[in-house]
């Protein structure tokens, strides 16, 4: 008789802790729901202005391959991705380092690097449910674009990998605080990368050909530009498969870098104190 395979205790502890962090994030978002609501109103105002600019630019027909409807769909997707892909692990980490609370995290039996993202993810999904999806549904009805479940499923792997990449990159940026003891300079770097590399403000079709070609497969463009195009059916299945593969490599490299930065930072903390 073959004995049933037991689930390792280590994995059960991991799952249990991850679930606890998830619950904390969800509860916090609910408790501070006024803040969630206000930040969504701000994001919706920015989206309305963005859509108005593009509605004007495309009023005489297509511009850079985008019609009024496709540009609306594209920027609405960017708005949704902006809600989901903002874990805020860098802010969390830098605050802990500056306040000296990071020492408390080191007393815990588990590495916060693996668990904090769950707390942030549940907060992101809470915002998505409250404000992201209703806005998307409203605009989809108004402008007559649709998101098929099959296309959403097709972009889920690359979106998940993008989230992992984003979390790892934020930990890399936040870990810089171990050296600089301040964060705003590094935070500005993140907004610069977001502006230039993701296609959030301007789709890559508007960039000069040589620049668009060289930026096409960067992890930030994959996380935003390709995910948005994939969800709207503007990218082929082959392109999606290719960007998923690339994002897997980028996510693995970013996780490796995050671990190095984190361990180097902790070593400094052990030597010099917090």
């Amino acid at each position: 008789m073959i004995a049933p395979k037991k689930i390792s205790l280590r994995w059960m502890v991991f799952a249990d802790t991850a679930l606890s962090y998830w619950r904390i994030g969800w509860k916090q978002s609910w408790i501070y729901r006024r803040n969630t609501l206000l930040s969504l109103i701000g994001a919706i105002l920015a989206l309305a202005l963005q859509l108005a600019v593009w509605a004007f630019l495309t009023k005489d027909g297509s511009l850079g391959g985008y019609s009024k409807h496709s540009s609306t769909a594209y920027f609405t997707m960017m708005y949704l991705l902006g809600i989901v892909l903002s874990p805020g692990c860098d802010i969390w980490l830098s605050r802990r380092i500056i306040n000296g609370d990071i020492v408390l995290d080191m007393l815990k039996p588990q590495n916060p690097l693996f668990f904090v993202p769950f707390e942030q993810l549940s907060a992101n999904l809470h915002r998505l449910l409250i404000g992201g999806l209703p806005v998307m549904a409203g605009l989809a009805l108004l402008y007559g674009f649709s998101l098929s479940p099959s296309r959403i499923l097709a972009v889920m792997p690359v979106m998940t990998l993008s989230y992992v990449f984003w979390v790892a990159m934020e930990f890399c940026l936040g870990s810089a605080c171990f050296r600089t003891n301040a964060y705003w300079g590094v935070a500005s770097l993140k907004s610069l990368l977001l502006m230039l590399l993701t296609g959030r403000l301007l789709p890559l079709e508007f960039y000069p050909n040589w620049l668009a070609a060289s930026l096409d497969k960067n992890p930030f463009a994959i996380a935003y530009y390709h995910v948005a195009r994939g969800a709207l059916g503007l990218d082929s299945g082959r392109t999606l498969l290719s960007v998923t593969f690339w994002q897997l490599l980028f996510a693995a490299a970013a996780c490796w870098l995050a671990m190095i930065f984190w361990n180097t930072g902790l070593r400094k903390l052990h030597t010099q104190g917090g």
């Binding site: 501070y32 006024r34 803040n35 969630t36 609501l37 206000l38 930040s39 701000g42 994001a43 105002l45 920015a46 309305a48 202005l49 963005q50 108005a52 600019v53 509605a55 004007f56 630019l57 511009l63 850079g64 050296r179 600089t180 003891n181 301040a182 964060y183 705003w184 300079g185 590094v186 500005s188 770097l189 907004s191 610069l192 502006m195 230039l196 403000l201 301007l202 508007f206 960039y207 000069p208």
Partner: protein
């Protein structure tokens, strides 16, 4: 007052240069951010040479003046974003105990020299617009442009003060004032491109038109009535934001531990 401002500025500068690597990185990156914004605008202008009838020079002037106003806001008024933190951490009390207006104290508590990089690039962009025949050319026009940009900075301050004050209601550090950073992008375009209801908003409630569009019309096309609108928009938005802040403080602030 001037002495207090000077002392606050020096204290801020000293506290900032202690973290010199972060300070230098922030100045460089802020400058680069404005350069990248300028490049993106140029990519767009390559496909759309005229936006609502305005040529490249006019659009670059609108961009430059908006960035100049934003950089001034970043340098001098960015601390309005800290209201949420002050309330949560119970630090607002110390502003209420001193014999000076709390709003002025909040401003003086945190100048941000990181904005210097953006300020330098913004000035260069306005000069570039002048080279294209749309920007200020004489000393008096440059003085006028600087004053108007300062009005724009005050408008950004009013928006951030109003939105940050709402953290008294939401009771979080989460910063709605950061919305200023997202919506300033749209002050770079002529407000005539927006539909009626949105144009009404950007001309009155959130007067973004007074940060880029009206100033550009005043400087490039000498439309004097635009200067009147800019002054009116600045004064009314400042008054409104201060009233909102004071009212929210009076009704909702419960001292430390709100």
């Amino acid at each position: 007052m001037i002495r207090t401002i000077f002392i606050s500025a020096m204290l801020n500068f000293k506290s900032r240069i202690i973290y010199r690597w972060d300070f230098l990185a922030a100045i460089g990156v802020k400058g680069l951010e404005t350069v990248v914004s300028y490049l993106l605008l140029n990519f767009l202008l390559a496909k759309v040479p005229l936006i609502a009838g305005y040529d490249r020079g006019h659009v670059i002037l609108m961009f430059g003046l908006t960035e100049l106003a934003f950089a001034l806001w970043h340098c001098f008024f960015i601390n309005s974003l800290s209201i949420g933190s002050y309330v949560r951490e119970g630090q607002m009390d110390r502003f209420l105990l001193r014999p000076m207006n709390p709003v002025i104290q909040i401003i003086l508590d945190g100048f941000d020299e990181d904005g210097w990089g953006g300020l330098a690039v913004a000035i260069a962009t306005v000069a570039l617009a002048a080279n294209l025949g749309a920007g200020p050319t004489s000393v008096s026009e440059w003085c006028c442009a600087s004053l108007i940009a300062f009005c724009g900075a005050l408008i950004f301050f009013s928006i951030s003060l109003t939105l940050s004050s709402l953290s008294l209601w939401s009771q979080t550090q989460g910063n709605l004032g950061l919305v200023v950073m997202d919506i300033r992008v749209f002050a770079r375009f002529p407000s005539t491109i927006y539909p009626g209801w949105l144009r009404a908003i950007v001309s009155s409630i959130v007067p973004l038109a007074a940060c880029g569009y009206w100033p550009a019309l005043f400087i490039a096309d000498k439309q004097v009535e635009c200067a009147v609108w800019i002054v009116l928009a600045t004064a009314s938005s400042l008054a409104l934001s201060t009233i909102i802040f004071n009212e929210l403080m009076r009704r909702l602030y419960e001292s430390s531990g709100t």
